[in-house]
Amino acid sequence: MTVYHNNSSRSDGEEQGGPGEQRSSPAHPPFGKKQLPSIPKNAVPITKAASPASSTESANGTHASYGPFYLEYSLLAEFTLVIKQRLPGIYVQPSYRSTLMWFGVIFIRHGLYQDGVFKFTVYIPDNFPDGDCPRVIFDTPVFHPLVDSVSGELDVRRAFIKKKKKKKKKKKKSLTLPPWNLNLKGYDKDFQLFKSKVVDSVKLCNSHLFDQPKIDDPFAISFSPWNPAVHEEAKDKMFAYKRLHKDYNKGPLVSGLSWVKPGSTQPFSKEDIPLQT
């Protein structure tokens, strides 16, 4: 998968990014293209339900056979939720080989880390959703109080103390926490030094933007410099997406019928019979 990054025309409002082409893999049902506006809408809270593992232990047999399906679908559901929440500037994509590993990239739009583009990988424990919290590891260790300077691992634990499920959202929040609120040894007094280190780190990360992906996977996120021959078409497609989507709904596949007037609960309440011929 290729994700291109248009440096020149990036704005806070609209971010371009996302899969240019969707490959289908046997294990993955096709996902929609991610088209993320800047403001998250309809973030649906999920109540924590008992996990299937615990609720069905009594039913011997069934769980063993279907357990992997539960895991797979829990992950897919999680992923759909990420799509639906439309977190601004964050894009994730499960790897081709496993739904337990997701590739991601975050575009920072304001604040200290503005203009930073950080790639990361999410590793989800195989006993999801009951296990430990997922690990988020930045390809290049960003200089950040919550990021391990050697491994690049983000400290996500604090976000998972109570609500494990909201990991995606929390992850983002923890990244944008104002650093001066944290007890950082050395830097709490010298904020300027901290700032300059951040700027350097952002530069360093961005200089590695076009590096090959760390992990060889067809769905790994890779950036390349703007190349009209490659990217123009994908960009056009992306902008045409909304229209396509509309047409798609009106296509011949639509087989449903309705004569209910919006707002009414009476059958055949539409005065004008719409003839869907």
Binding site: P30, I46, S55, T56, A59, N60, G61, T62, H63, A64, S65, Y66, G67, P68, F69, Y70, Y73, S74, L76, A77, E78, T80, S95, R97, S98, L100, M101, D126, I137, D139, T140, P141, V150, S151, E153, H208, D211, Q212, K214, I215, D216, H245, Y248, N249, L253, V254, G256, L257, S258, W259, V260, K261, S264, T265, P267, F268, I273, L275, Q276, T277
Partner: protein
Amino acid sequence: MTSMVVNGKRGGQSLVLKGVDPETCMIVFKNHWAQVVKILEKHDPLRSNVGGLGGGHGLGGGGGLASFRFGAIPGDEASAVQNYVEHMLFLLMEEECGQNGAMGPILEFVVMENVLERLFIWSLRREFTDDMKLEQLKMYEMLIGQAKQPLLHHKPVLKPLMMLLSSCSGSPSGPSSSAVETELVLLLNQLCCVLAKDPSVLELFFHTSEDQGAANFLIFSLLIPFIHREGSVGQQARDALLLIMALSAENQVVAKHIAENTYFCPVLATGLSGLYSSLPTKLDVPSEEWHCLHREDWQQLPALVQFLNSLEFCNAVIQVAHPSIRDQLVGYIHNGFLVPVLAPALHKLTLEEVMTTTAYLDLFIRSVSEPALLHTLLSFILLHRHDNVHILDTLVSRINTPFQLGTVSLALFRTLIGLHCEDVMLQLVFKYLIPCNHMMLSQRRVLRERDCYSVSAAKLLALTPSCCSPEVIPPPLRQLDSILWSKGTDGSHIGTMESKEVLSEEDDCGNSCVIGSEIYLDVSYLDYLCDAQNSISHCIRACCVWSAPYDGENPPPEEYQRSTLEEADLTATPGLLELEWDDSYDACPTQPHPEEDQETRPIPDEPPKHIQELRRTAVMIVKGSYIEESEFQNDVMVYDLVAQKDAHDSGNGYHAPSKPTEPAKQEVLDGPVTDQKTANSESLMSNGLSSPLDEMDSKKRGSQSEHKSLEGEDLMAQYEELIRTLGAQHSSPAKADGELKSPTVLMDDEEDEIDFNSFSPETPETEKLPSPFGTKPRSGSRGHAVPFTGPFLSVLLSRLENMPSNSLHVNLLLTGILAQLAAYPQPLLRSFLLNTNMVFQPSVRSLYQVLASVKNQIEQWSANNKDFPELLTAAQHSLLARESSLRADRIKKNPTIQPKTVVPLNETEVYATVLFTEFLKELAAFAQEHSILSYPPTEQ
């Protein structure tokens, strides 16, 4: 003869003519014509020379024809003319257009000399017999079909043609021979093709008609009588009419003419009624498994084929015609066919007739595709009332009929649900769910949640009976396969680039290395997932046109509740008294709701408790009986019990409700329906009053005696006997016998059915017109006080609960319909069916509860039957064989290998167990797919 022209020359001479120069052709043509003219003039009474017969001679009417007959024309002269004409026509046909689309010289000559008109008059002068008509018709058919230049633009061609056509329309000599009709329709069809290609000709047709004083648009009027004709003539006529219909969409004048000046729409619609009346009123049902009319079935019935042809034609007309014609036709179909013909047919007196009509209705709905026509059919079902009961309510109540009417009704609902029609689903399901009364208040909040962690799926799968657990079942039935469940990248290559060493180490030490291991999985489950994904996405797409998401907020629960109540109050609800076969009736007559019962159900004497109990059991066993409690008089009951006993005696045991033996069936069938009719009329009159029961009794007795051969005097004795037998059964439900389950099972229904009873009086009437006036509160209106998910869902679940005793095909239908419902993305329905964590009102039975009950029945049964595992394996094999033979059928008729041991189909428990296990997988797959698909579909 011209026929020779037609037959003989098409192939042969065109080759000969090639290369012959146009001038030669012209000379030949003129020579021939000169010969013809000689003969023509010889017999012309007026002796006029050229073109002497103008338009004004009143040729159109049949009356004027005789005046041209002038002595007999010798046969040799007639045949000479024919020979010349043949050649001339051929030359004309073969002539190419002149330069710049001008007429070719021969055509010009034809026009100048008025050749065709003179030939027509010549044929009139001779006896204008069918043969002559045929000859002329064929001539034009050939000319129009094969001429290389447009002919109809020229009045001298068009006019005699119109004269010919009018002479065919009002033929005074009675109906024309079939040969003439065939040829006429063929010619008309051809003309319509020309019209369709070149609408400018249309004007000419209208004008020429006016000239002749004949009916406007003669071509069209001539076709109407053939609309419903069978065979190829009818088909050609309908094709031709369709071409004109398509023209009407573009041409206001044509549309107006058809709608206002012709009988097209009424003929078409009332013709349906005529054709319907010739359909068999009872079908020869091939097997007990049969539940709907497939192509193989209806192709055997010529009357039905003809009806479907006409229906298909209506569908096509509605598709292409101008809206004014469409609306008119749809109106006539409703008022001229559905209401006066189909509605009474759905309420005939015998089960077979009603079943047949239901199967027809199902077939009709499946045969039409145009939204406007579906609108008509569906609004008839949903809104029309027959004897003050909505057709839909009657149909729903029949689901619970034992016998084939029940399965045929199920099949009809399968069709209806498959339409993805909001109006249908609203009336059937959603209007009962919108108020959200069926769930605890706290649950409304979580209504829209999806099964994100596969909890519901796991709970559903955990209901798998222990005898069917994946470990127990041997291959190949258990299609286990190893799937490489990798939990990271393969680890073979960690990125090729050199980068931060730390990171690649990190990768190596556990995040992306091969954790993947081989896990054995139920591979068939993948197919269920795939199917579920397809049907859910299809359903989501189809429901895009719906007006509301039905998510517990839109439509708002509170609003709907209020309006429903008002509406319910508005009309004097006849309640369920008219409903046949309603589950709510036989379900629980001994749970009277105090006020309601005094109002509507006068009970003469309170029988002893054990009798009440017994009655309930009996009624529940004999589900076929339609009995309102107050009507539940001894004779009816005895009658049913006797039928039931017969069934028992003949060895069917406890399966009797779903598959009684033939004689018992016959008797029961005719009996209760009639009773019910009587009861209906009685209860209509006596609704809310305490009725003279004795009179009713005697009436019912009378009606029964007409239909049954049972001796009335024995009834009481048999009743007593039955009470003993059944009572004994009921009191010892622990017997390790196939029969033991029914009381237990049915008692489980009890709580479910209580609310049926109390709610139903309000439910069928919720779609009344809104009241312009205030409404007075209705006493005992507990419609929404008692949670209820509607008769349809309740009946489905109650039949599902009987899964172990249902026959295989009933269970296939039931699970199929539930799977259809489970594909709907609307949170109200999805949460009701698939969310196993939802907490519903105690009186509401959820799918999960019903499934759990079925599981328990199966577990009990399998525990008590030591040969169950073998039977189960054999049943699985025969179901597999059935499936592969069905698949083979679809591809080509190729018999597949039959399994060695065939479990008899009456081992319903065995088949039900297999089916149940598969159904759980299906439902779990739906739950899982919903969790990731319940968003508007994104790009494929």
